[in-house]
Symmetry: C2
Subunit: 254 residues, 2 copies
Amino acid sequence: MVIDKRSGVPVYRQIAADIRERITSGEYAPGAQLPSEQDLTATYDVSRPTIRDAVGLLRAEGVVYSQHGRGVFVTPPRKVQRLSRSRLSKAARQENKGAFLGDAAAGGFTPSTTVKIRFEPADERTAELLGIQPGTEVTVRDRVMRADGLAVQLAVSRLPREFTRGTPIEETNTGPGGAYGRLEEAGQEFAPFEEIVRARMPSPEEASTLQLAEGVPVLHVTRIARNTNGVALEVNDMILAADRYELGYEIRTD
Amino acid sequence: MVIDKRSGVPVYRQIAADIRERITSGEYAPGAQLPSEQDLTATYDVSRPTIRDAVGLLRAEGVVYSQHGRGVFVTPPRKVQRLSRSRLSKAARQENKGAFLGDAAAGGFTPSTTVKIRFEPADERTAELLGIQPGTEVTVRDRVMRADGLAVQLAVSRLPREFTRGTPIEETNTGPGGAYGRLEEAGQEFAPFEEIVRARMPSPEEASTLQLAEGVPVLHVTRIARNTNGVALEVNDMILAADRYELGYEIRTD
DNA sequence: AAGTGGTCTAGACCACTAT
DNA sequence: TAGTGGTCTAGACCACTTA
């Protein structure tokens, strides 16, 4: 009973800190069930909403998760998949059918992808990233990647339509080597890709399609592919569950 | 009044969705104040805890923030600083005193840094990343970087002590070019750096030192510096507020 | 059927900010 | 002083899981 109601620190935060410490100390092991809310109200001698505030804090931190009707559990460490961005090399593209399918082979899961293709005028941001006029028609490939049926990655790829017209890039199946393979066939030569990495909390839609637990942010990766003349060919926005992925980059020092 | 109490969707989620939509539609502009909780209880005809649940959801998403005694406000878009990792090049190192000071010049803020140096036996993870035996003595440089007095970045750098003994790396001030400069002076030649990027919710300590708002994750970047023989010289764990930083990488396609 | 967490009510008192 | 959000209580009823 480490709760001091006169300390000025809110009781629910003191309780959260106490439980958090019991977790890090190993008293509550990974995957273990916490005492029920009723038990906790008794041990800390507070009302249930106060206990729920405390547990809610830990959930927002991703330290615990709760299952309706079952209980509250210590979040076990996730096994994380490393996405080594060097796999975007030309050689890797030629071997695999696309980046995601290559990961599947490495990760040992069954991949599946849903693709929706549409054409739309470039919005402000897309236009700036691609270096084109807003309103220029772009081909949009909107993909949901699944591993063993579970959605794990969202990707929206936009290319000026002038580069995709008459190619399989406007089809569901782009063929071996993916869209990049088709662009190379059309004579394009790639400059180094640029990737911009951000993190934020998911929108409700993202949280539900990726089935994210509370307290799990998403990684938002924007890739810009340019040819050797500096002309942008594609901008690809990828959303990844941060508890399932980490990104590996190599930085040349020369 | 878009609330349907018999729809099965929790009322507080419906209210949150309604407010969220009013924000994205522009009815509540960035920085604008939301109606008070009392007003919201009246307009949605629910009790205050229900309103608080709804607003709490939006806070956890980082969509709004609240100030005690003032009100709840729409989170305005942050101006984000791009950290282009190519600045780790040898040339950049020679010009600037260190990566962070280089950023300061670009960002136009006054930088300050607090460094704490200690020596400790390598733990499991450090040993594995550095390719050394657990327990081997490592030099730890624990830094808090501030911009205009506000902590914006935490960095913990660990190097096998054999590479730092007798060098300014064991001092607060490492001199021009930072620790990497000293390692090069000692004859080390760097292989490409490896960086691993993760995102997660902050610990309470991180949240308070970085003064993070609710619903703001952190970027956790682990950099491993090796010499051309593949020997790891340093592992550097950096924690960045995700609403203030984005990371830029370049990926060679050859 | 029993136990769990999820939702919601109707209050109370407090701390902070503004005027 | 008035208005705001922050904390906390003591219940109620529901939905879900497990046995």
